[in-house]
């Protein structure tokens, strides 16, 4: 039964030695360009909502509390780590860290909230210049005369209302 081919195969295997690693007993760092959990830097963010507009999973929400205060929340539940938010951010305020061990049983752990004081161009009300026309179509700058319509950048509300599991996130849809 142990013919030549089997012996050859067995030799190939033994030559390779052991390749499995004792993870998670010993950690294994990810390579430099790895797309892990995004980290938002509040100091650099200008509140343009480009990330929110370009997130395919609609996991970044923007709400204007008043003319000068914009709240940006990264919910992180359905984030696919695609990195589009980091791509379009004009201020490079979003970096994709090397963190991939993000499992948790409390969904609020993934949330990042930025409270931003906004200042805009007094003439056009815009914050920055977009790169591609396709991205431009999705950017909505903050215009202080259009607060009613620009309340939520998120296009559809269905995915919020139908997910009561998000218990430690109080999203006030009809707030101030």
């Amino acid at each position: 039964m142990l013919s030549l081919s089997k012996l050859k195969e067995a030799w190939l295997c033994l030559k390779a030695g052991r390749v499995t690693l004792p993870y998670p007993a010993r950690g294994r760092p990810a390579p430099a360009r790895f797309r892990g959990r995004p980290v938002f830097d509040a100091a650099k963010c200008i509140g343009c909502a480009g990330c929110a507009n370009n997130c395919p999973a609609r996991e970044i929400l923007v709400c204007d509390l008043c003319q000068e205060i914009r709240v940006l929340q990264y919910l992180g539940r359905r984030c696919t780590y695609c990195g589009r938010c980091a791509d379009v951010c004009p201020e490079k305020a979003i970096t994709l860290s090397l963190d991939f061990e993000t499992a948790t049983d409390r969904i609020g752990d993934l949330r990042q909230r930025l409270d931003l004081f906004m200042s805009t161009c007094q003439r056009c009300g815009r914050c920055f210049k977009e790169t591609s026309w396709l991205d431009q179509l999705k950017l909505k700058g903050y215009r202080f005369d259009d607060v009613q319509n620009e309340r939520w950048v998120l296009r559809s509300r269905a995915c919020l209302e139908s997910e009561p599991a998000v218990d430690d996130l109080k999203i006030d849809l009809d707030g101030p």
């Binding site: 195969e9 190939l12 390579p31 696919t80 695609c82 791509d87 591609s132 026309w133």
Partner: protein, 555 residues
């Protein structure tokens, strides 16, 4: 023959039945015909001109042209031509002659159009529900523009059951799936067994239907969709990502920089390598040979690390945008990729040599799951399944895209038509892929990664793209639209065609060979089920109650 010459042939034969034709280049042809002539035109193309059937598409065009659109896509592989035959149907009670009698490969596509868009295929040999869940009400067609993407229609009945066919005389029913150790994704094959032999099979699938096409039309935008397209499949995601981007670029007339083309080619071939190595391991696992399974995956692992270094993730590369790619391959990464490939090639040669002498493995795979050239033609089979039957089709050579027209490679075929031939084809394609990546790395010139998209994309244009996935041809059909999103996007993954031939492949074979036959087409059910459904909570996937499971498992 160029596109214009083919159009000339059609015009000669059908004259006034052809209303309009668009020839955007030598390699694409869009012919609009009268709906009454549709079946005749398709028969002429399939039987007389020997075109290969690709897919049928239905679209709700009522807001734009007042009616429905029905398209049948064909491919002339030798002419490097992709052709689409379209017709407009009235908004009230749309129906067209079914072409499944002439083109058996269109069986599922027409049933899907019937389920999702509501165009009735008149004369279809097997008009049973295909995609929609059992409890979905009649006359609620999700892909129509007036159907919401996020609501269950009124009349959804969770208790309604699917009517299975009766087994033939003397056979017992053995359910294979939706839960089975070999299947990574749910699918239900109802096998009709006589003793140890399979006499027939009925398939009920589409259990991982996620509503991707509807989302693309309603909620996402052009640059969001590649991220979603990538998740159609866990193994060949990059293929869908690239194919979609290419379809839109072809429709809108966007050209991408050459470096981006080379990078797309490299990542596609890296994906092919990982997929084939994975598959060989899986095939061995199915026949109980776990050692070779472990070895294939061990050899594959450095490739996954290299992909992670280049794109940021082992598998979901998130590579394309409309107009280019996102990741640069630096000289250090190129060097590392070369080293990984050198090592992989050496080790794989040793494995391939050992496997080709292995009588034990060949005994389980020779003469099993046979699909000959006749079945390949009638069922429209593609990929290694077709190449293992001696049919030499490969989209990289027949419909060149990205940088494939600038690299040299062989199309690997075998003659056995069985599982063993498919193993041989896939093992040898690994070497060709390594060759292609090496050529790309040499020929790449420095340059930009993305073309600027200077204006809004034109509306209402059609784009076709065929990309050779590891499993076969993956074909995307796009109609560009308003609001920064397509009007219609149809994905035809290769498993969609190959699965239709499984009942023919396993007929009169032993039940033990069922899994390896199914495994030999390298099924990717996630690729196959990707059209619309509804809300996440109820009805999207059928939850099998314990008593249903018990009832289905007992003879």
């Amino acid at each position: 023959m160029t596109a214009r010459e083919r159009l000339g042939q059609l015009r000669t034969k059908f004259g006034s039945a052809i209303r309009r034709a668009d020839v955007p280049g030598d390699h694409r042809l869009f012919v609009y015909v009268e709906s009454c002539a549709l079946k005749a035109v398709c028969r002429y193309l399939f039987l007389d001109l020997d075109a290969r059937y690709v897919v049928s598409i239905g679209a709700d065009d009522r807001p734009y042209s007042g009616g429905f659109l029905l398209a049948h896509d064909f491919a002339f592989d030798a002419d490097h031509l992709l052709c689409s035959v379209l017709t407009h149907l009235p908004a009230e009670n749309p129906k067209a002659d079914s072409i499944s009698g002439v083109v058996p490969a269109a069986n599922w596509a027409e049933r899907e159009i019937r389920d999702l868009v509501g165009i009735e295929p008149v004369g279809h040999p097997y008009p049973k529900r295909l995609v929609l869940p059992d409890g979905w009400p009649e006359n609620a067609h999700p892909l129509r523009k007036d159907a919401p993407w996020n609501e269950v229609p009124a009349g959804f009945d969770p208790e309604r059951e699917f009517q299975f066919d009766d087994p033939p005389e003397g056979c017992i029913v053995v359910p294979f799936g939706p839960f089975h150790p070999t299947l990574d994704e749910p699918a239900h094959f109802r096998l009709f067994i006589e003793g140890e032999r399979v006499r027939g099979c009925e398939y009920r699938g589409f259990m991982v239907h996620r509503g991707i096409e509807k989302l693309a039309e309603s909620v996402l935008t052009y640059n969001d969709i590649p991220m979603m397209a990538e998740r159609i499949c866990g193994i060949c995601g990059c293929v869908h990502n690239v194919a979609y981007a290419q379809a839109v670029e072809s429709a809108a007339g966007v050209t991408i920089p050459p470096r981006a083309e080379y990078i797309r080619t490299i990542m596609l071939e890296v994906e092919r390598l990982h997929s084939h190595l994975l598959w060989v391991g899986l095939a061995c696992h199915i026949v109980g040979f776990d050692t070779l399974f472990m070895q294939s995956w061990r050899i594959r692992e450095p490739l996954m690390w290299a992909a992670e270094k280049i794109s940021g993730n082992r598998k979901t590369y998130a590579l394309c945008l409309i107009g280019g790619v996102r990741w640069e391959i630096t000289p250090e990464l190129a060097l590392e990729l070369r080293q990984v490939l050198d090592r992989l090639e050496t080790e794989w040669r040793a494995v391939a040599a050992a496997v080709s002498l292995d009588k034990n493995l060949q005994k389980r795979t020779r003469g099993v799951g046979v699909a000959g050239p006749a079945l390949v033609k009638s069922a429209g089979l593609i990929g290694p399944v077709a190449r293992a039957a001696g049919v030499e089709i490969d989209c990289r050579r027949d419909h060149p895209y990205a940088a494939y027209d600038r690299v040299e490679f062989n199309v690997i075929t075998a003659d056995g038509c069985d599982v063993w031939s498919r193993v041989v084809v896939r093992m040898n394609e690994v070497f060709e892929s390594v060759r292609i990546v090496r050529q790309c790395l040499e020929k790449m010139e420095p340059g930009p990664l993305q073309s600027p998209v200077a204006a809004e994309l034109p509306v209402g244009r059609l784009g076709l793209s065929s990309v050779e996935a590891p499993r076969g041809e993956s074909h995307h059909f796009v109609i560009t639209g308003e609001n920064n999103r397509p009007r219609r996007w149809r994905v035809r993954a290769p498993t969609y065609q190959n699965l239709q031939a499984v009942p023919a492949m396993i007929k009169d074979q032993q039940i033990a060979d069922m899994t390896i036959s199914l495994g030999s087409i390298d099924p990717c059910f996630s690729c196959t089920d990707r059209i619309e459904t509804i809300d996440l909570k109820s009805g999207e996937t059928r939850i099998w109650t314990q008593e249903e499971l018990i009832r289905n498992l007992r003879p």
